[in-house]
């Protein structure tokens, strides 16, 4: 655990009831029934902490069912927040504090709480029936099973009802405020300011004064209760982190992605057409973009996954940036159309927010098992560019990159995010618009050849990078036809010629390989050579970098490199891989990147593989590093 208490007042001082301890980092999880508003409580806590200047990292965890039966284990929803005065990269391994709004939440989350951790329990939800629904045979509040924790039981329902007694609302509505009461207690416990949340309540419920008033009262009552009831002899302070100066906001991966797409296309001065079919965990991207009409974004909720990518490619044919987004099951359905975009050499960005598979799998859980699908999951020799963001904020940068590469190389780009990145949040240093790259778009207006004395447009004539021109309908004189049948080199006419086919397959592959000249080199965190290199990709970045950092502090000769470009990989990848005695590849799959590294670079990489629908704990990677280097 990363908590190092520093007492700001000595324990001997008498003048105040509550000691304040300063902590470097805290990890807390709000857990309750999916109807208890835990996601909201967690988000508000994150905002308050971010605005206070902490570095934050979050991990929401919700059930696949929208409303599983209340009080059952299947219906538990959680939101974990790691906040710190240091630069952090993960939502935290072990919980320092857990809020459990009912027995089911306690049962499913207790194992993650550290010994002597703070356990805040809504004792009003521990009736016989509630206990039974969660499968408890005896009441954990009474049977001594919680003796290793600092338990704070609060009759939250009762106190909350008292707090809002004067507001005219139905009993049901009253009870719905109880998450704000719990939040108030936690704000007191960790000295968080209430202002940001109070403002949010005012704005959110502007049209419903009763609810606004009730939530405000609940939050304040919870805070005051914490202060006056002497819940603990101590409360905590996590000072602001010293992070790079700038203006910050909190951002989730899906938000960052949406904003990245809009930024890239706005600066490229082309329309963004986002066509998609709702699917967890990618639907939020549609929701964000549908609200961006002021930026000229056109969103299409297509009839199915195949329609969505067809619409995106059709838009690109017309000169827009066509983008489609989905998760693994949808990406499978888009395979044939992706091949068409490879053949017609049109730009299109295909977002895969990965989730647990195969088939419907674990819709709300994270996994990284679509890498080989992205690389090879199509008929024929069908290479596309593949990129993967490494943190929620990096989703902005890589969305920008995906658009840039798609346009610059006239190719589909698959963007591999995952459920953890999509829903997780961290502070994002807002870039200056003038610092962002401009993507250059050129649509030809003149024919590009003069064969037989008459000017002609040859759709498959290429530049030195092997990229063809993007001529769009409406341009006089450049009328041409493209399609999925094999193209004759240069003219683009249908061709079944054997030599031409081989030439075109190799040309398309070389075009994608050429992208390596246009992307940054693989960066190494740590020594440039040594005993062990830990190589990751995608959302495992935070856990790997933290583990490697700790291993380095312990004196191990270990470095970290993270691949954000997977096809092609950066030019120096082989050289980096071969500078270390051993290579470890932690992945949330059975070893897909490892297979690629072995196949492409003949590196005898070791795998650390976890397939539980959950991100890595830092300790899991740390232990593996120690194990390898102990040999």
């Amino acid at each position: 655990m990363s908590v190092s208490p520093v007492e700001s007042e000595s324990a001997g001082q008498q003048k105040q009831h509550h000691r304040i301890e300063e902590l470097e980092s805290v990890t807390i999880r709000f857990a309750g029934d999916s109807g208890d508003g835990m996601q909201l409580a967690g988000t508000q806590f994150t905002n308050a902490s971010a605005v206070l200047g902490n570095d934050v990292s979050t991990l929401p965890d919700f059930p696949a069912e929208i409303r599983a039966p209340a009080g059952t284990l299947a219906g538990v929803s959680g939101f974990q927040v790691h906040f710190s005065s240091r630069d952090i990269h993960t939502p935290g391994d072990r919980l320092n504090a857990l809020v459990a709004m009912n027995p089911a939440a306690l049962k499913t989350n207790l194992k993650d709480l550290e010994p002597n951790g703070i356990l805040i329990i809504n004792s009003d939800a521990f009736g016989k029936n509630d206990l039974q629904k969660a499968g408890y045979t005896s009441n954990p509040l009474e049977d001594g099973s919680l003796k290793n924790y600092r338990v704070i039981t609060i009759p939250i329902n009762t106190l909350n009802r008292q707090a809002v007694a004067e507001v005219k609302m139905s009993p049901r509505e009253v009870d719905r405020c109880k998450n704000f009461f719990a939040l108030g207690v936690v704000y007191w416990l960790y000295e968080r300011p209430l202002e940001a949340t109070l403002r949010w309540i005012r704005e959110k419920f502007a049209k419903n004064p009763a609810v606004m008033e009730a939530n405000t009262r609940s939050l304040k009552a919870g805070y005051n209760y914490g202060e006056t009831a002497e819940l603990l002899p101590v409360h905590y302070r996590v000072p602001p982190a010293s992070i790079k100066p700038g203006t910050y906001r909190k951002i989730t991966g899906n938000e960052a992605l949406a904003i990245g797409l809009v930024s890239a296309t706005t600066l490229a001065e082309i329309p963004l057409v986002y066509a998609t079919y709702p699917i967890t965990p990618a639907s939020d991207i549609l929701h964000f973009l549908a609200g961006m009409k002021r930026y000229g974004v056109r969103t299409i909720q297509a009839e199915d996954e195949i329609a969505a990518i067809g619409m995106a490619i059709g838009a690109s044919f017309g000169g827009a940036m066509g983008v489609t987004g989905s998760s693994g099951p949808g990406i499978c359905l888009k395979a044939e159309a992706t091949g068409l975009a490879v053949m017609t050499e049109l730009p299109v960005v295909i977002i895969d927010v990965q989730r647990g598979g195969p088939s419907t799998g674990l819709p709300t859980k994270t996994e990284q098992a679509d890498l080989l699908l992205a690389m090879y999951g199509r008929n024929g020799e069908c290479p596309v560019a593949v990129v993967a963001p490494c943190s929620p904020a990096d989703c902005f940068t890589m969305a920008f990159e995906a658009v840039r590469l798609a346009i610059r190389y006239m190719t589909p780009v698959i963007y591999l995010s995952d459920g953890y990145l999509a829903n997780g949040a961290e502070p994002w240093r807002i870039p200056k618009v003038e610092d962002l790259p401009r993507i250059k778009v050129t649509h030809p207006t003149q024919p590009n050849s003069n064969g037989n004395g008459s000017a002609k447009f040859l759709p498959y004539k290429r530049d030195e990078r092997l990229v063809r021109e993007w001529a769009v309908p409406g341009t006089p004189g450049l009328e041409h036809r493209i399609g999925g049948l094999e193209k004759e080199d240069v003219t683009g006419n249908v061709s079944y010629d054997p030599q031409n086919h081989e030439h075109m397959v190799r040309t398309r592959a070389q075009k994608i390989a050429n992208i390596a000249n246009d992307i940054p080199e693989l960066e190494v965190f740590g020594p440039k050579s040594g005993d062990l290199l830990v190589v990751g990709w995608g959302g495992t970045y935070g856990a790997i970098v933290t583990a490697v950092e700790r291993a380095q502090r312990k004196g191990y000769s270990v470095a970290h490199a993270h691949l954000r470009y997977l096809n092609p990989m950066p030019k120096n990848t082989e050289q980096v891989l071969k500078s270390y005695k051993k290579v470890l590849v932690p992945e949330l799959n059975c070893g897909q990147l490892r297979l690629l590294l072995r196949g492409i670079y003949f590196v005898d990489a070791i795998g650390l593989n976890k397939i539980q629908g959950k991100p890595f704990l830092v300790s899991e990677i740390e232990d593996k590093i120690a194990e390898i280097l102990a040999k």
């Binding site: 906001r249 909190k250 059709g314 309908p473 409406g474 009328e479």
Partner: protein
């Protein structure tokens, strides 16, 4: 570079340099020729025309038109057309499909494009057979059709393409035949002029695998008795001697002979602009040999198109709230400054 100016656009200008590769005698040739003729006459510049097709014999069509074109994947052509049209309302976008492409593998896209009323023209070549895959029965093949995949006759009940289109809330629905070249040209022109999804079914003879399946509607000796050419505002009359008509008996159509007992006033009057699609649907259900099959425009109404509505939401938002600036987008949540 020679740009084509409108008045001089001829059918020849619309022909690409590619050799046409349908089987000799295929009905597709006539459709291609009439399409060029129709488009030469409507005054749309060549560069503004886009043909998008799926897979099948008919879907080779775009290669033969000297316009913009895209030969896409099986059944999905309407989706590409939708994505293109949504931000390029300036283009005249045509989808070329067949009975297998449009109604089997692509049925979902067909109904949803029609439902949205995207301003595209969907031309479905119905030959009641799979041609390119060498002769299996299709979703429009009549029950009992003997093919390689149905040696004892197909047991499947066929779809009526126009009934599907009307059921999907189509704003323009028409039918014509490959060999009736004047009618075909006029229907294509009407489709081109329609604002919204225009759905046209063309009976097309597959010389190789289903030759003569529409003889009842094309053979000079019988066609007048087996087809009924619709005219807006006119009674439903047909027959060699123009002495037969369609009247409504309860909720069903009925063939009657105009003699002393039945007069023209008893017959159904065709109203292609009726908001309520029931009568158009009823006409789409009239199938030979029980009834003459209707040709012409079944339905033509105006409803806002998909792209008109999408784009007007955007324009309206920009008009009332101003064009978005990236700086505002970045700061669309609580921000804080670290010094």
């Amino acid at each position: 570079m020679s740009t084509v100016s409108l008045p001089t656009l001829t059918a020849k200008d619309l022909a690409s340099d590619q050799e046409v590769r349908w089987c000799p005698g295929c009905g597709d040739y006539s459709i291609l020729a009439q399409m060029k003729k129709a488009l030469a006459g409507v005054g749309i510049p060549r560069e503004k025309i886009v043909f998008i097709s799926g897979i099948g014999c008919s879907s080779r069509f775009p290669y033969y038109m000297n316009t913009y074109g895209m030969h896409t994947i099986h059944g999905r052509a309407p989706t590409f057309a939708t994505g293109l049209k949504v931000f390029r309302p300036d283009l005249s976008v045509w989808v070329i499909t067949g009975d297998g492409d449009g109604l089997s593998i692509g049925g979902n896209h067909l109904i949803h494009a029609i439902r949205r009323n995207v301003d595209i023209k969907i031309i479905l070549f119905n030959n009641e057979i799979y041609g390119l895959t060498k002769g299996q029965y299709s979703p429009t093949s009549r029950q009992g059709t003997r093919t390689k995949s149905s040696p004892l006759g197909s047991v499947e009940h066929p779809l009526r393409p126009l009934s599907i289109a009307i059921g999907a809330e189509a704003t323009f629905v028409a039918r014509t035949i490959d060999v009736d070249i004047n009618h075909l040209t006029s229907i294509l022109k009407r489709a081109s002029e329609h604002k919204g999804t225009a759905f046209v079914e063309i009976y097309q003879n597959c010389k190789i695998f289903n030759d003569g399946v529409f003889d009842y509607a094309t053979d000079k000796s019988v066609k007048a008795d087996n087809t009924l050419y619709l005219e807006h505002g006119k009674p439903l009359i047909f027959g060699k001697d123009r002495n037969k008509g369609i009247r409504l008996h309860n909720l069903d159509p009925e063939v009657v002979t105009l003699d002393g007992g039945v007069s023209v006033d008893d017959l159904l009057i065709h109203d292609e602009r009726a908001e309520e699609p029931s009568l158009a649907y009823l006409l789409s259900r009239m199938v030979y040999p029980r009834f003459p099959e209707c040709m012409g425009v079944f339905r033509c109404i105006r409803r806002p198109t998909y792209e008109e509505q999408v784009n007007s939401q955007i324009e309206e938002t920009i008009r009332t709230k101003g064009k978005g600036k990236l700086e505002e987008l970045f700061a669309s949540d609580d921000t804080w400054v670290v010094k």
